[in-house]
Symmetry: C2
Subunit: 331 residues, 2 copies
Amino acid sequence: MNTQPIRIGIIGYGNLGRGVELAIKQNADMVLKGVFTRRAPESVRLLTEGVPVYHVDTLPSMTDDFDVMILCGGSATDLPVQGPFYASLYNTVDSFDTHANIPDHFAKVDQAAKNAGKVCMISVGWDPGLFSLNRLYGEAILPQGATYTFWGKGVSQGHSDAIRRIEGVETAKQYTIPVEEALDSVRRGEAPVLSTREKHRRVCFVVAKEGADLAKIEKEIVTMPNYFAEYETTVHFIDRETFDREHGGMAHGGFVLRSGKTGVNVETNHVIEYSLRLGSNPEFTSSVLVAYARAVAKLAKEGVAGAKTVFDIPPAYLSPKSAEDLRKELL
Amino acid sequence: MNTQPIRIGIIGYGNLGRGVELAIKQNADMVLKGVFTRRAPESVRLLTEGVPVYHVDTLPSMTDDFDVMILCGGSATDLPVQGPFYASLYNTVDSFDTHANIPDHFAKVDQAAKNAGKVCMISVGWDPGLFSLNRLYGEAILPQGATYTFWGKGVSQGHSDAIRRIEGVETAKQYTIPVEEALDSVRRGEAPVLSTREKHRRVCFVVAKEGADLAKIEKEIVTMPNYFAEYETTVHFIDRETFDREHGGMAHGGFVLRSGKTGVNVETNHVIEYSLRLGSNPEFTSSVLVAYARAVAKLAKEGVAGAKTVFDIPPAYLSPKSAEDLRKELL
């Protein structure tokens, strides 16, 4: 095993960046060498003593000091630009999660990474990420079948924002929750045909402004097209104190199921179920990013170049253990 | 994509071999080119028309006709010999599942495969196999935590055999069943310390011979050391007809859970749960073997040689889809 720790950098210091900082502490073969920000570096206080904070402008001059950069920006505007740019300088891992734009993002990062001789993983996390892996393993192993992804229980930022835009709403949070009957039908091997709206219900916690018309707010929510009208939606009005106390968490999770059939008459049922119950979405996502940073460091040592996804990475590359120990302890 | 189908051979035609035969039919990019048996070939009737049955003695002369051989013998006596021997002739996949002997089996197959320039996967199936993968992913992503494997509900052959050896027993079947309270404690993130016996209970269905002393049989079962004495064990006496009607199935399954913590004070809980509910243990295991045969064929084309396990295989290699399609459809 390599005795030099893997030198990691973090670009972007929000919830995800802090999660990466904490996850690195849990991995003895890694060290956090620096955090990069667009803010004034002296204004950023890390959770860790002794780690320097740099302005992102210094990134091009520090390529010898880091083995892997973990990009902790957002998918909407940061990563589409940062992904290809930093791929020309560093081995990277990002959590790009705009599903529809993955092929385009991959192509751009791939070209930059190949030109620079870097290994750059995109779309790492739990969905895309671990859920994607389970969709792949499921359909490869049970080719005749159906795959189901359920999300939640967890906060949907987009739906919470939509409620907040309604007149009379002070603040709000929306939880996406899997429909238990739909989940159970899949688990029984009934292979139901289910749309996203049949798999999820929506529960809203709303703090109204003083004197606001609650009935009107509720009606506006439950009839909002695309966001709520097609779903079973419940609205709870609560006071600010309750909201702050009970709805500040970032728990999330979900399920990937593969239901398939085998046998002489293709009537033997099998169900593979993968689920996550996450106390903190950003902390867990960070932990996935850090494990894949290890894989990137190993691939870079082998001289591999180009963009990669979780589909390309041999599972052993995620572990600090030797191949011998993995076979002995975990196989 | 390769337009030539992957040419598969089956060595050993029992439950597992028949499962492989059926699984190949579900994969359009594969073809079953032959089945090899130690019996007289003309005495073996396949489920598939037009596929030749050969005696195993002809195997050394047919190395140009097969891309991958799937070894469907048992782990006790067949695979320790067949694994290294056939690795000197063919790319292979086996389901060797004697956990303690995996390092030795790996070393022998690895040497033979490297000498012959072949790719040979060992210990493919669900445990070892898919469960191993989930143990690895779980501990790599949540390094501070605990991993739990529960088996069942499913028949344990060893325990059923032990009951059958008791005087007065005509036949018997023993089901290993996860203890629901233990599972739920893990799911709640309580990270309990659990021995195998605290995770499983044992339910026995026994057909007694006429005039046998049922109380004595029951006592012999529940007090049998190692097998039952340390477990919560239930014994049901049933008649032969009920036994044949209700206990001929080969359903199995189980759970792998990883419970781990992250965060500033390492107190945020996360639980990853992977579970299988299998209508037929051999049919599902066969489906896993066949998916990994595809990976072996791809690796062989790349010129890779040596023994491999599920830990070494990039997930994309299991799928017939292109990397582009995987990213677009499943990521």
